[in-house]
């Protein structure tokens, strides 16, 4: 068989297939993905300020709460005669050193990009914040309707220009 005959045979096959296309469901699924992605991006721009504020709030409230009792105890011991110390509530006894608690294991998702076209990354910071669980849905993660209002931990990668570039979600087991 000559090469021309082969080409003609292939032409016939191409003609037969020329009307074949992906079914409409593929377009529907892709458009849903497209909307999810870009709706998430709009939310992200708005949420950026909120995230930054949340980061500040989280750090402000989280840090002093971590070791409140030792501070009270120290004050009581060093200044036993001061009025403040006299009226200070009795610190809750610290639990005796028992078997060491196992540190909860941190589980993180992959990073989800928050920008399509990002300037080159030079340096940045990772901010641990709390966000509504609905933010997980914005990046395509499944969240039950009744848990949309829950707060979840997230790490936000902020670039040198101050823009949030990516987010990942954190849970503890």
């Amino acid at each position: 068989m000559s090469e021309e005959s082969v080409i003609a045979a292939l032409r016939a096959l191409a003609d037969q297939d020329c009307g074949r296309e992906a079914p409409e469901e593929v377009e529907t699924l892709l458009l849903a993905a497209f909307r999810r992605r870009h709706a998430g991006k709009k939310l992200k721009v708005i949420a950026l300020a909120g995230l930054a504020a949340a980061a500040g709030i989280t750090m402000f409230f989280a840090l002093p709460r971590e070791h409140p009792q030792p501070v009270v105890r120290a004050a009581t011991k060093q200044q036993p005669s001061t009025v403040a110390a006299a009226h200070a509530p009795e610190p809750t006894p610290v639990r005796a050193a028992g078997p060491k608690r196992q540190k909860p294991r941190e589980i993180v998702t992959e990073f989800f990009p928050l920008m399509d076209v990002a300037p080159p990354f030079e340096r940045g910071e990772l901010l641990r914040v709390m966000v509504p669980a609905s933010a997980m849905r914005e990046v395509g993660l499944p969240v039950n309707e009744d848990r949309l209002g829950d707060r979840v931990y997230a790490d936000v990668l902020v670039g040198q220009e101050g823009l949030a570039r990516a987010i990942r979600f954190v849970s503890y087991r």
């Binding site: 068989m1 000559s2 090469e3 005959s5 082969v6 080409i7 003609a8 045979a9 292939l10 032409r11 016939a12 096959l13 191409a14 037969q16 297939d17 020329c18 074949r20 296309e21 992906a22 079914p23 469901e25 593929v26 377009e27 699924l29 892709l30 458009l31 993905a33 497209f34 909307r35 992605r37 870009h38 991006k41 990009p113 399509d116 076209v117």
Partner: protein, 189 residues
């Protein structure tokens, strides 16, 4: 004025749904047929089409107009997805015909659907590196340059693989023709 693929892609990446839809509708057929002709499976072709356009959404910023057309970029993505699936398939490719001497006029039989399906099977039986060139250049009407960009290889490689692919097909189709006409193949072949 009809916007170019590159312009549509650029708009789609900034969130223009109309642009993404237009680009998808313009290019999905080619991607779907490429995957179908490479694998012979409509299910895989659908998956590959969907994944290729998703990848375009996610990684479209990597497209470089200087390196080829958006269509080539898409074919390149689809080709990688197809190759991954072909590697996962157990048994690999199966030769469907034996080579033998036969008539030169297979073309007249091509009016029959059955014969066209035999051509499809012959294409599917080609080794993937030859199959992809035949599918792109002969079935998808891609130019050598476009095929080279999609396959990330020199144009000369595309030419030589296409030539070898067609030669393999000629032998396979000769076999189909003589099998169809109950012509005994000479034992020397």
């Amino acid at each position: 004025m009809i916007p170019t693929d590159a312009a549509l892609l650029e708009q789609a990446l900034t969130g223009a749904e109309d642009a993404f839809t237009a680009l998808y509708r313009r290019r999905q057929g080619g991607v779907y047929r490429f995957a179908l002709q490479m694998t012979g499976s409509t299910a895989i072709a659908e998956d590959v089409t969907q994944e290729a356009f998703l990848a375009l959404l996610l990684h479209g910023t990597r497209y470089d107009e200087a390196r080829g057309t958006v269509a080539s970029f898409l074919y390149g993505i689809a080709r990688n997805l197809v190759m991954r699936r072909l590697q996962r398939r157990p048994g690999g490719d199966v030769e469907i015909t034996e080579e033998c001497a036969g008539p030169e006029d297979l073309l007249e039989d091509l009016t029959r659907r059955e014969s066209i399906e035999q051509v499809r099977q012959a294409v599917l039986s080609l080794p993937p590196v030859f199959r992809e060139v035949v599918v792109l250049c002969d079935l998808q009407d891609s130019s050598y340059d476009e095929a080279a960009a999609a396959l990330d290889c020199p144009v000369g490689t595309v030419r030589s693989r296409l030539s070898r692919g067609r030669a393999m097909l000629a032998r396979k189709l000769r076999g189909v023709a003589c099998a169809g006409r109950s012509i005994e193949c000479p034992k020397s072949l």
